[in-house]
């Protein structure tokens, strides 16, 4: 994704506008948080935004370096807390997750897909060959008598054999189940962590669906 011989330019490689030094200094003081999405539906990321105005109360303490609002592919600086949505379903997911792990102190699986594979992992019951066949070769919309092809280009990440929960690829520190978890649940976790409290998800708010 960031190979020097590649002619593509990624959003995180673009020069960023320098912030006002005072603003920058204030931001540097804050706890840096980021959220990335792997193979999921972005519902969990929306849940993060579902904190609504409660988010504003946190902004004194945290700064969100990456979310679905700033769709950069890579975070530019080390984060204290990283939220991951989605399971690992292709090589780009592996690379993203690996990079995120390397740059986050605490990494949290958010939602069913990140936690155990979720809906994308329903394909784990089938062979990848059959999935790709169904999608591209034998699909109802396939062009009759066409030479069978599977999209392949270096810009298209290869799909992995199975869909993996994040913690089978890199170490994850905490897990927030749910499909998606409520904004309030994510808020509680975030609030606990930035205030130095133990991660705790009581039965009353723990949900798998």
């Amino acid at each position: 994704m960031s190979k020097p011989d590649n002619n593509n330019t990624y959003s995180h490689d673009l020069p960023a506008r320098q912030l006002d030094p005072e603003l920058q200094a204030a931001r540097d003081e804050k706890i840096k948080v980021a959220m990335i999405g792997l193979c999921g539906c972005w519902g969990c990321t929306l849940s993060l935004l579902d904190m609504d105005e409660a988010l504003l109360g946190l902004l004194d303490k945290v700064t969100i370096l990456r979310s679905s609002l700033t769709d950069i592919k890579r975070i530019r600086e080390r984060c204290a807390i990283g939220f991951v949505e989605g399971g690992v379903a292709n090589e780009e997911n592996i690379e993203t997750l690996k990079e995120f792990r390397e740059n986050c102190d605490i990494l949290i699986s958010v939602g069913a897909c990140a936690v155990w594979g979720g809906v994308p992992a329903m394909r784990n019951e089938a062979e990848l060959t059959d999935c790709l066949k169904e999608a591209y070769v034998a699909s109802v919309t396939a062009v009759p008598d066409a030479i069978p092809t599977i999209p392949y280009h270096e810009d298209i990440p290869r799909i992995t054999t199975k869909v993996y929960p994040c913690h089978e690829v890199v170490r994850m520190d905490y897990f927030i189940p749910g499909c998606p978890p409520d904004g309030a649940t994510i808020l509680k976790v975030l609030d606990d962590l930035i205030n130095g409290r133990e991660f705790d998800l009581p039965a009353s708010i723990n949900r798998y669906d």
Binding site: M1, E91, I94, E95, L97, K98, E99, R101, E102, E127, L128, T129, C131, L132, K133, Y136, V137, I147, P148, T149, I150, Y152, E154, R158, I159, T160, T161, K162, Y164, E168, V169, V170, R171
Partner: protein, 610 residues
């Protein structure tokens, strides 16, 4: 309706508890259990066909698909693997044309692997239908298969002199019974069983139980429960009928001493049962004989018949109106778990061999819900000897917490594999020198469910309930053996043999096996070892029966005695990706799919950042 099936149902008086016998008869009739036949059997027993299948599908010698004219089961123990198993298996596949687990095209041969068939002293060995061939080599296999193809029956090949099946000479023709060392207790010549029994009956049940108790006789099956106490509890338990069961399901890989006792001293075992019956007040006895020992059945039946003729079994034993007792042989059908006494009882009742929830214990509610005494073959043989020689004599043997002697089935890296009678209290080193183990490194004591000990560390440990508790299986490995591979094999054995009734054993053994695989593949790290210990202890303490209670032992005991073999395989995590995550494998499926679907190989693949 099919007359033959009707006849089977009638023979067992439509008694659902004899389902295992009826299934065996169907199996002999068709070579497998056809759906239609099962349906008819079910209808005749007022069961749903799925209920019948619930039982039949539990046992691995019952097949629900057609099998070949000859069915071959090659024993796949670790001992066999040390003695040319792979070559023998390859020869079998080649000569029969049948893949493992399948049938050849002509329908002549079905070939299966099977766990220990109780012949670790002469492996590789295989069952062909109801006979057995031992000390197999590729040449021997070729010869056997060639003869079968020429139309000779397995029995004709194994028993060229056509000895009658009910003679011990027949058994000796099929297998060796190397009793390398006898002692004071077992394999004793005994001619006057009538006199022995007479004395016991004269003394009365309480006295007999008292003798067993004060002799300090403990069950030889492995758990070491006091025989006298078991009998007393059973005697005192209320019940309209009581039962004695002889556990001859010797399924622990590496044991074969019960086979030797049943071959050389069957009547001592029967007499033990009769004594138990007299003590607890039983009228019926069952010998639960594992299917793998089918070639002993006719011989044992004849021995039982002799006892009946001598007035030692049947109505009015020794002329006493109040004492009627007879023994039937219940054939098993392939399930290690049936060595558990309550699973064995379920199996005797024609059900799945699922260990029961305890309490109630078998002595309270056992076979058919009645108080039942289940004793191991070796225990029953010892009972007879104790009765003959007296409690004081027996007390003089062995150690304080382990009276008497025990039989060891010794196999593996030693000069003289076979049966050894040792007094409790003998050290491991003494046994090793006795059997001619030149360079012993590790010893698997009590089979996979026991412990693996390092000879260097544990050689001076003594056999006994308080120290090296041994159920009779002793497998010796020298330094050339791959212990991790052996551990993996044992874990696979438990995965295959778990009945599946409880969560930790059904699920946990698979996860433990996979951990071993991960370590063997060089993808394990310290955390995996920590998890093995934690998961192993979880399975051990939460499982319903002794299988799950001991299945993590192969890993846990080697981890304790041979930590270096694990450490040598561990890796350190490099970078963020977990060592257990196999990136190549994760991307392999895609390449495979492309090749299969588009018939084009990938050429210029972009490198994934590792």
């Amino acid at each position: 309706m099919n007359n033959k099936i009707q006849a089977i149902i009638q023979r067992y008086q439509a008694d659902r508890t004899r389902l295992l016998d009826m299934l065996w008869e169907l199996h002999y009739l068709y070579g497998y259990l056809p759906d239609k036949a099962l349906s008819e059997l079910a209808a005749g027993l007022n069961l749903s066909v799925d209920d019948v299948r619930e039982t039949s599908s539990f046992y691995h010698y019952f097949h629900d698909h057609p099998t070949g004219r000859y069915t071959l089961y090659l024993s796949n123990t670790v001992i066999a693997r040390m003695n040319g198993y792979q070559q023998v298996l390859a020869a079998l596949e080649r000569e029969t044309g049948a893949p493992v687990g399948g049938m050849d095209e002509s329908g002549t041969f079905s070939l299966y692997e099977t766990p220990c068939i109780g012949l670790s002293d002469q492996e590789p060995a295989m069952l062909v239908d109801d006979v057995v061939f031992t000390r197999l080599t590729p040449e021997k296999v070729s010869d056997i298969i060639r003869q079968l193809k020429r139309g000779r029956s397995p029995a004709e090949i194994a028993n060229p002199k056509a000895l009658p099946e009910d003679e011990v000479a027949y058994v000796d023709q099929l297998i060796d019974t190397p009793v390398c060392k006898t002692g004071e207790v077992f394999f004793q010549q005994q001619d006057d069983y009538a006199g022995l029994l007479q004395n016991a009956l004269d003394a009365g049940p309480d006295a007999v139980i008292g003798i067993m108790t004060s002799a300090g006789l403990r069950g030889h099956g492995g758990a070491g429960f006091s025989t006298g106490l078991k009998w007393r509890l059973c005697r005192e338990a209320p019940g309209a009928a009581k039962y004695v069961i002889c556990n001859a399901d010797e399924g622990e890989p590496g044991t074969f001493k019960d086979r030797a006792l049943l071959t050389r001293s069957p009547q001592a075992v029967f007499m033990g049962m009769i004594l138990a019956a007299s003590a607890i007040g039983a009228r019926e006895g069952i010998i639960y004989l594992r299917r793998e020992y089918i070639y002993l059945k006719a011989y044992l039946e004849k021995q039982l018949q002799q006892f009946r003729e001598q007035g030692l079994l049947g109505d009015r034993i020794l002329g006493r109106a109040g004492f009627c007792f007879d023994i039937r042989i219940q054939m098993g059908a392939g399930a290690y778990i049936c060595g558990d006494e309550s699973a064995l009882i379920e199996s005797c009742e024609g059900k799945r061999g699922t260990p029961r929830v305890k309490p109630p214990y078998p002595v309270q509610q056992g076979y058919l819900g009645m108080p039942t005494c289940v004793n191991n073959v070796e225990t029953l043989a010892a009972v007879t000897r104790v009765m003959q020689q007296g409690a004081d004599w027996y007390q003089g043997l062995g150690t304080d917490d382990s009276r008497g002697c025990r039989l060891l089935s010794v196999s593996g890296d030693c000069l003289r594999p076979g049966i050894y009678e040792i007094e409790w209290g003998t050290t491991l080193n003494q046994v090793l020198s006795l059997v001619g183990a030149a360079d012993p490194w590790a010893v698997q004591v009590s089979g996979p469910s026991g412990e693996c000990v390092a000879v260097g560390k544990s050689g001076e440990r003594r056999f006994g309930y308080g120290d090296l508790c041994c159920n009779g299986s002793l497998m010796i490995f020298n330094r050339s053996r791959d212990l991790l591979d052996i551990v993996h094999h044992f874990m696979q054995f438990f995965v295959d043999e778990s009945c599946g009734i409880c969560t930790p054993c059904r699920a946990g053994n698979i996860d433990l096996r996979d951990k071993v695989e991960r370590i063997m593949a060089g993808r394990g790290c310290q955390q995996d070892l920590d998890e093995i210990v934690s998961w192993g202890s979880l399975v051990r303490s939460t499982s319903r029966c002794g299988l799950g209670g001991s299945s993590p032992n192969p890993i846990l005991t080697t981890l304790q005695q041979f930590p270096e073999i694990y450490q040598a395989k561990l890796v350190q995590q490099q970078g963020a990706l977990l060592p257990s995550f196999d990136l190549d494998k994760a991307l392999q499926g895609n390449e495979q799919a492309r090749i299969e679907l588009t018939q084009t190989e990938l050429t210029a693949l972009p490198e994934v950042t590792k």
